[in-house]
Symmetry: C2
Subunit: 498 residues, 2 copies
């Protein structure tokens, strides 16, 4: 390896170390920290982030990247990919002035507080001036970059490298009518029974059950752990220390199982990345959508499938004999797949979830285009909810104020959730073509071939490929909605007898 | 505040933030980390330590310290103290070349591995060449500094700023014969009964009991937490996030209570430091000995006292009625204060503990002076054990190989344990003069006046004063052994009827 490459790797390695250290501090903040620790923790995280930035955007790092790019002259090697990603991140980081980052931190922090208050009082007017300021900064952020086809492209690219707004629009425009149609068909049918899911389930037993499930998935406990936290998440301290959190909700205990499976999907991805990528920009999943494809796959395509519960339901019934007394496998399966248009995204079922996302994407694009005044947001939100899902938020808390994202300036993020769903189904079709009797394997609790397929085709590559390239390499097609619609139609056709 | 002071504080604040972040990573490593995380964690900690060092020893920081020292021209203000401590640390840090630090890290890491193996095989010859190398580096380290009265001074100063080897020698020379005499007197008496301490005690109940005790001491749970770890320790992430760990040992369950009290003493100190010192070099306890005075005070002078158990014993007996059936308060009190010359320092009782330390100090000084060949260490160790404590180690594992310190290059550290004991008794005498009926207050479980006294006289000052100055300011005398001997003589006189 050339001396310059060695040098660059050392510089980037330090930056990566600081980032991972910050992740440890962030995890601790959610999982362990006593309330008093908050203020100092904020400062410590700010310092680490500032130093990581300083260490990254030095002229030396810029020169090394340029020199090495010339030396390697493209190609498909890991080194070339590392240089591409490092160069992209470097270019982005250099364009955004530190003063802007500081301003954004302050604005977001105030916007977050206002959002908390606004949501608790269900009063959008409290949040409105802050969201206007957030949007102003979003416009300013966009202005640091060369003009794109669409201004929203600049935002999207931070979460889905290489993805264009036009691509997402095309995909969603194809998906929307089919999904609305499916939901209409479902809601015309007899609803399934699911009252038994809302009985009292022992938290410890549920947690143990979830941990047993993800052990079988292939989550490696010698390189991870699960804790409780107010919000479930996955976080990576190294390829050999990938942790998840889960939560227990009194009014929806079974959700804990699916949350554990979901986060384990993120974690299994991270645990499977080529260890040679450690401390380089290739470490970590390639994009939010591909990450979400992994979490949603284990949660939904595996964890809410009939073969899965053919294996696990007897055990669950043994663990909760009273709660599930008289509940057949089929009834349980239908219950955990109940479709019901509802107000809150995070509680949405598989069939309606994407519509929540499309609504948000449309509003974000309109805001960025300047075609939507913030003051009109609640009204337009409610109108779209009626149109897509047939429900009307009774107040802003259950409408436009439900998500945290905008208060943190995260505009451009939402579509990745829906794209993740689509990718999961694309991969699922390909896997079923490649693996003999995948359903049969799942029915016996054997996930090894499935995991092996994901390791080989997705996980190991880390950030080597951009999401569209990765998906195309593996499935032969860029991200597309057809497999997901086929999946939903087949699944809900059977459940609701369409 | 002058602009330069502002600048210096900001630079030092960043260095402090990085140090605190490293502490979070260290805590996590001991408390939570899955085994796989080890390698990356080592790298992350190395990077943080390197960056903190880089950020600290810049010419700019040096200039700011010099300019400000001239500007302030001494005095007793917090700013002047901060400059003194920053200047001292800066000077030390500048003298030690980064290449040496790297070499030391490698040598220590190998020495640690050799020590683990040597101890498990009870074979000093495995550790010997490594200890020789460690000692070589210690000599090299000393050579970076201007010649001191005694070469050992340079080492001691890192743990006890301002303390001289001659001072410690004088103190210990006075203490040794009295302590040897006391132990001889005790061992000629009838031994107390303590078999009931080694029954089976429920871990959870012991942990809860300990937490109840330290809540009454004044440990603030909104600014801390207790976890389990293989080795008990205290660690500080900010004045408002000070955590402790404890452990349960099957063969000595009650030790958990005293370990919790001990660590809470360190933590209560850290929680009580002037919050204005945050992110400055004045944050944190002033020296290891003063820190140890706080932990040993709560553990021993409070936690092994009769008034303490007059309050807590009924509760303990209610918690463990079977284990303590027929055991009177007095019998329990005597049992937890049993004196028995033994081989292992960490298990030593109050009366014998200091002799373990003196032995180590004498060996360290001889090693540093070059008057002791490493190959002769086991023999000399054993001879001194016989002389001071009347016991002979049956093997090196229970002798010269028992402590981790030397493998990590920590030479100069041990005496702080004994000095801490001495300081605790000095403070105790002064407190009893200042506080009306301290014993009576403890007997009712009221520690508020005691805590208030410590807050005012010790805790709040952080590192503003060097240890000898602090002790003299508070007690009217520098560190001295007489109060400790008075304390031991009175206590054990009563227990053993001397």
């Amino acid at each position: 390896m050339s001396e310059k490459l060695e040098q660059l790797k050392e510089r980037l390695g330090e930056v990566a170390d600081i980032g991972r250290a910050a992740s440890v501090l962030g995890w601790d903040q959610q999982v362990n920290m006593p309330p008093g620790g908050n203020e100092a923790r904020g400062r410590q995280l700010a310092t680490l982030s500032k130093i990581a930035q300083e260490k990254f955007i030095t002229d030396e790092v810029g020169r090394l990247i340029d020199d090495l790019k010339q030396e390697l002259n493209g190609g498909n090697s890991d080194e070339a990919a590392m240089l591409r990603v490092a160069g992209r991140n470097y270019d982005k980081a250099k364009r955004v002035p530190p003063a802007f980052i500081a301003e954004q931190a302050i604005v977001s922090s105030r916007a977050f507080e206002a959002w908390v208050e606004a949501r608790s009082k269900s009063d959008f007017s409290i949040f409105r001036p802050h969201l206007e300021k957030v949007l102003e900064l979003v416009h300013k952020y966009i202005s640091f970059f060369p003009p794109a086809e669409h201004p929203y492209d600049t935002l999207l690219d931070d979460y889905e490298p290489g993805m264009k707004t036009a691509d997402v629009k095309t995909i969603f425009d194809g998906l929307r009518p089919k999904q609305v149609e499916l939901i209409k068909a479902i809601t015309s049918r007899k609803q399934v029974k699911d009252d038994f899911l809302y009985k009292k389930y022992n938290e410890k037993k549920l947690m143990d059950f979830g941990e047993d499930v993800i052990s079988k998935f292939g989550y490696d406990w010698s390189r991870g752990r699960q804790d409780k936290a107010p919000h479930p998440f996955e976080t990576t301290f190294s390829v050999n220390d990938v942790r998840i959190t889960t939560r227990y909700e009194d009014d929806n205990p079974i959700a804990m199982l699916f949350s554990t499976m979901h986060e384990s999907g993120h974690a299994i991805y991270e645990q499977g990345i080529n260890p040679d990528y450690e401390r380089t920009p290739l470490a970590g999943g390639t994009s939010l959508a591909v990450h979400e494809s992994q979490s949603r796959m284990w949660e939904n395509l595996v964890g809410r499938s009939l073969p899965f519960w053919e294996h696990f339901y007897p055990e669950l019934k043994k663990t909760f004999p009273k709660q599930l007394e008289g509940v057949s496998l089929k009834s349980f399966y239908k219950a955990i797949n109940k479709v019901e248009p509802s107000l809150i995204r995070v509680n949405a079922d598989e069939a309606t979830y994407n519509l929540h996302i499309m609504l948000r994407l449309e509003l974000e694009i309109a805001m960025v285009e300047g075609n939507l005044a913030i003051k009109d947001l609640p009204e337009i939100w409610n109108t779209k909810m009626r149109e897509y899902l047939g429900v009307t938020p009774p107040n802003d808390a259950k409408g436009v104020l439900q998500d945290i994202h905008w208060s943190g300036g995260m505009i451009g993020y939402f579509s990745t959730y829906a794209l993740g769903n689509l990718i999961s189904a694309q991969l699922w079709e390909k896997m079923n073509a490649d693996i003999q009797d995948l359903d049969g394997q799942i029915r016996t609790g054997d996930f090894s071939e499935l995991l092996g397929w994901l390791r080989k085709n997705i996980h190991q590559h880390g950030q080597k490929y951009e999401p569209q390239t990765l998906v195309e390499n593996v499935t032969g097609s860029k991200i597309t909605f057809e497999p997901y619609i086929r999946y939903l139609t087949k699944k809900y056709g059977e459940i609701y007898g369409l």
